[in-house]
């Protein structure tokens, strides 16, 4: 098989899609059963203390929760097939609309944090492995510290320094309030929307709002990736073909980026994939501290309110996200190591 090309058998692709569908059906069933075995009453909770029995009954009927459970599930699946995720009890609007509002925020933050992780984490790891000696003890050590800093504490410290003391960066949110009013939502990504509408001051504002949460979100993953990249690159450095390449007189840069990085990248890719998956499912802590209106906060709020439709919707979205990321990672394996076949 030629190196660099990606090819899957159609049987494989079909199998992947079928598995994905099965996983989603399974997930939805498990979530549905789980949220329903909890002894909780979201309707009575949402109705509040002053609601009369009649109001509670009206609301229960409105959300279809006066029906037997199996019927509720079947109705849910039928609606799901039609692209309808139901209505959230918390926000009283379509879950799909909620997700459409909240997911782009998480996606944007996750991509920026992921790029930071990729660039800084991999470079640090490779740099450390390549240099060896004293420098090489720094990365593992920093990795331990970086991975051990509680994200919550880090977030508050970042705000304290860069927002309150220095006044360089905003405390949270995605845009300053005046900018929010000036920007039309197209993609849901503030960066993209600002570029599309050539609103450069908004672009800078969005970037400024992204820095602190992205740093808080990526510090842990950077530490992990740096350690994995370092370990994996060191293993490759010891191998004969690298020594051969060096002996041929290739520049060290070429040896590192061409001969070492590619074979070292399988474990890096695996870890990056799972880290990206977690970032995409939204970090509740980062989103809470920085007022980032993302999917993580939405999910936690849905869980505390036992908002069945919202929990189901968010779980399905996260499942789809993980399946997609895993699939992409598997594709990248083939590209990196042509010996892998599906």
């Amino acid at each position: 098989m030629r190196s660099g090309s990606i090819s899957f058998s159609s049987r494989y692709t079909l199998r992947r899609i079928l598995t994905a569908v099965l996983v989603l059906v399974g997930m939805s069933l498990i979530t549905f059963v789980l949220v329903n075995v909890i002894p909780a009453d979201p309707i009575k909770y949402a109705a509040g203390p002053n609601a009369t029995a009649e109001i509670v009954a009206n609301m229960r009927r409105e959300w279809g929760m006066d029906r037997p459970l199996p019927e509720q599930y079947v109705r849910y699946v039928i609606r799901l097939v039609h692209g309808d995720l139901g209505v959230s009890i918390m926000s009283r609007r379509a879950v799909l609309d909620d997700l459409r509002d909240y997911f782009p925020a998480t996606l944007e933050l996750a991509i920026v944090a992921f790029l930071l992780t990729l660039l800084i984490g991999v470079s640090l790891g490779l740099f450390s492995a390549a240099r060896g000696g004293g420098t090489d003890t720094i990365v593992p050590l920093a990795g331990v510290f970086g991975g051990a800093i509680p994200i919550f504490w880090l977030g508050i410290m970042l705000q304290l320094v860069f927002y309150l003391r220095l006044g360089w960066l905003p405390a949270g949110g995605r845009l300053g309030q005046d900018q929010v009013d000036a920007l039309r939502v197209i993609t849901g990504s503030m960066l993209l929307d600002a570029i599309l509408q050539r609103q450069w001051s908004i672009l800078f504002d969005a970037l400024k709002h992204l820095i602190l949460p992205a740093v808080a979100l990526s510090l842990g993953p950077i530490a992990i990736i740096a350690r994995i990249a370092r370990a994996s690159a060191r293993e490759i450095f010891g191998q004969d073909f690298v020594r051969t390449a060096q002996a041929k007189g290739l520049s060290s840069r070429r040896v590192l980026w061409v001969h070492v990085l590619k074979p070292a990248s399988i474990p890096i890719l695996t870890t990056l994939g799972s880290q990206f998956g977690y970032m995409l499912s939204g970090s509740f802590l980062v989103e809470t501290i920085f007022q980032w209106p993302g999917i993580g906060r939405y999910t936690i709020l849905a869980i505390t309110a036992v908002d069945f439709p919202a929990i189901m919707g968010a779980t399905l979205l996260v499942s789809v996200t993980f399946l997609t990321v895993n699939f992409l990672v598997d594709m990248l394996y083939v590209w990196v190591d042509p010996r892998i076949k599906y």
Binding site: G48, P49, D101, A130, G167
Partner: protein
């Protein structure tokens, strides 16, 4: 290895320099002064709020955040006078009550316009009341006795009740008048979908934008507002959810938020020292109680309930949990509530008495175990639960504490079999009348799905007292009946009455015009608030 060094060093330096340049470039875009409070007249009020609206529709959303927004966009016939539990005319100029207490006739204000066009009149009142009743959601509990509205003439309307209801006039502030034109346009669902995302009332502010993504709602002044804009008011109000307490505090310090709603008690001590910040405490009509399962042994025995009431360390709770910012709750009603009986004597900690009571009840050394369920993450409730646990141990009673989510607790206490032996509960009356406490927490109709009577207290006598006080038309009669009810519930030790937590207004010092209105807990009168740096 030295070869490799040479390859990294220059590149590394370039990276460092590039990073520094980028850093300064970005940071210089927003220096401290431009990022924080902008110069010039302060015309926008920024509220760092707790939670997203429950509903923009005043017939639906009933949480304090929603009601604050309703109060800015819409107006009721009569409203609470800021800082008191008295009602005063708003869209009505006067009202009278028929002798039998069933008919309320309102004279309406002339020249009031809706934000979306059209004049306010008796028809608007009828449409709005009917709509709340027909939707049967949120605010409809206020109209449980509503029969019909009759348009007498363009500026007179009579509301008929099924039964006399003395507290009705204090409930009217919760019924907001919507533009009847919109209801007509969307007759199929009575405008339910339209009013969930749009607004059209007669109030001082109109809805400019509700951005669900950034959880911010922006209101701007309605130029045609009948009370006018001559005095000091804000032109714009932004209410934005800031979930994290420490962020709210930082924003207040930096001047980006004008007032905040979420903070820890510790941070208030520090904020109070800031010369630019005000922290003011107010007594409330809210009650914090431990609900006891009156329906099940051993707490069905009044002596056991009283023993627990004598064991609880009330002063410690107020000192430790509230740092003194709470009033002692004497009986079922907080002392700021109308008809509070001043002659009542509260239970105080007396372990000897507690042990005697247990002995007469047949438990000389305690020796039984009770289950206490408490809502996860609410520190005041958890500490109160722990204080109860420690106190009970001193009289030989074991209490097991389990933390649960609030919706789970709600499900548990809807069934007399699963309701916990003890659970802490905050009671937030929806209007400043004892009925808002008794009907919701002590009436037998409020058991199961009906309300929050999760302790299953109630006798024919207590129900009858609640009903009679509800219907009585004379003040003296109501005072007498409520005194009797308070005494009965206190002597029966139905719940353990802990405290009435005070409420704090935490704002920039220049924010003026706020006063705490007991019936409007956690709501803010934007139109009365203004900015004054003197």
């Amino acid at each position: 290895m030295t070869v490799k060094h040479s390859m990294f060093r220059p590149r590394y330096r370039v990276l460092v320099v590039a990073a520094l340049v980028a850093w300064f470039a970005i940071s210089s875009f927003g220096d401290a002064t431009s990022l924080h409070a902008a110069a010039g007249p302060h015309r926008t009020l920024f509220q760092a709020s707790i939670s997203e609206l429950d509903g923009l529709d005043p017939a639906v959303g009933q949480d304090a955040g929603s009601k604050t927004v309703h109060m800015a966009i819409y107006e009721p016939l009569v409203a609470y006078k800021i800082g008191t539990s008295e009602v005063e005319p708003r869209l009505a100029t006067s009202w009278s009550v028929s002798k039998d207490g069933r008919a309320y006739t309102f004279k309406l204000r002339q020249g009031v316009k809706f934000q979306g066009g059209g004049a306010f009149d008796a028809n608007a009142v009828k449409v709005s009341f009917d709509r709340v009743k027909k939707l049967g959601l949120g605010a409809s509990y206020l109209l449980s006795e509503y029969d019909r509205a009759v348009v007498v003439n363009a500026l007179t309307v009579t509301i008929y009740l099924k039964r006399p209801l003395a507290a009705f006039i204090r409930m009217v502030p919760g019924i907001f008048i919507v533009n009847p034109g919109r209801v007509k346009e969307h007759a199929a669902d009575l405008g339910k979908a339209w009013f969930a995302a749009n607004a059209d009332g007669t109030g001082p502010y109109r809805l400019e934008k509700w951005d669900r993504g950034s959880q911010a709602i922006t209101l701007v002044r309605f130029d045609g507002y009948w009370q006018g804009w001559q005095g000091s008011h804000f032109d714009r109000v932004i209410k934005k959810v800031i979930a994290e307490p420490s962020t709210q505090v930082l924003m207040l310090k930096a001047g980006d938020a004008d007032f905040i709603q979420r903070y820890t008690l510790d941070s208030l001590t520090e904020l109070a020292k800031d010369p630019n910040i005000q922290v003011k405490w107010y007594s409330t009509i809210n009650a914090f109680v431990l609900v006891l399962a009156n329906n099940r042994k051993p707490l069905s025995d009044v002596r056991v309930r009283q023993a627990l009431a004598y064991a609880f360390p009330y002063d410690k709770l107020i000192d430790v949990v509230y740092e003194g910012h709470a009033d002692r709750l004497v009986g079922p009603l907080p002392s700021s509530m109308p008809y509070f009986d001043k002659t009542l004597k509260p239970y105080t900690r007396d372990l000897v008495k507690a042990k005697q009571l247990l002995a007469t009840a047949g438990y000389p050394n305690g020796g039984f175990t009770l289950q206490l369920k408490v809502v996860e993450g609410i520190e005041t409730m958890i500490t109160a639960a722990q204080l109860m646990q420690a106190a009970a141990k001193e009289i030989g009673i074991t209490i097991n504490i389990q933390q649960v989510q609030w919706p789970s607790l709600v499900a548990l206490f809807q069934d007399p079999k699963t309701t916990p032996d003890i659970f802490p509960l905050f009671q937030f009356p929806a209007f400043a009348d004892p009925d808002a406490i008794f009907s919701v927490n002590y009436d037998r109709k409020a058991q199961r799905t009906g309300g929050y009577n999760g302790g299953y207290f109630g006798t024919a006598e207590s129900d009858s007292l609640i009903a009679r006080a509800r219907a009585a038309t004379s003040d003296q009669e109501r005072a007498r009946l409520y005194a009797q009810l308070q005494r009965m519930i206190l002597e029966d030790s139905v719940n353990i009455f802990l405290a009435s937590p005070q409420w704090s207004f935490v704002a920039r010092k220049a924010v003026k015009g706020f006063n705490y209105t007991p019936a409007l807990a956690d709501q803010f009168p934007y139109y009365q608030m203004y900015w004054d740096e003197r």
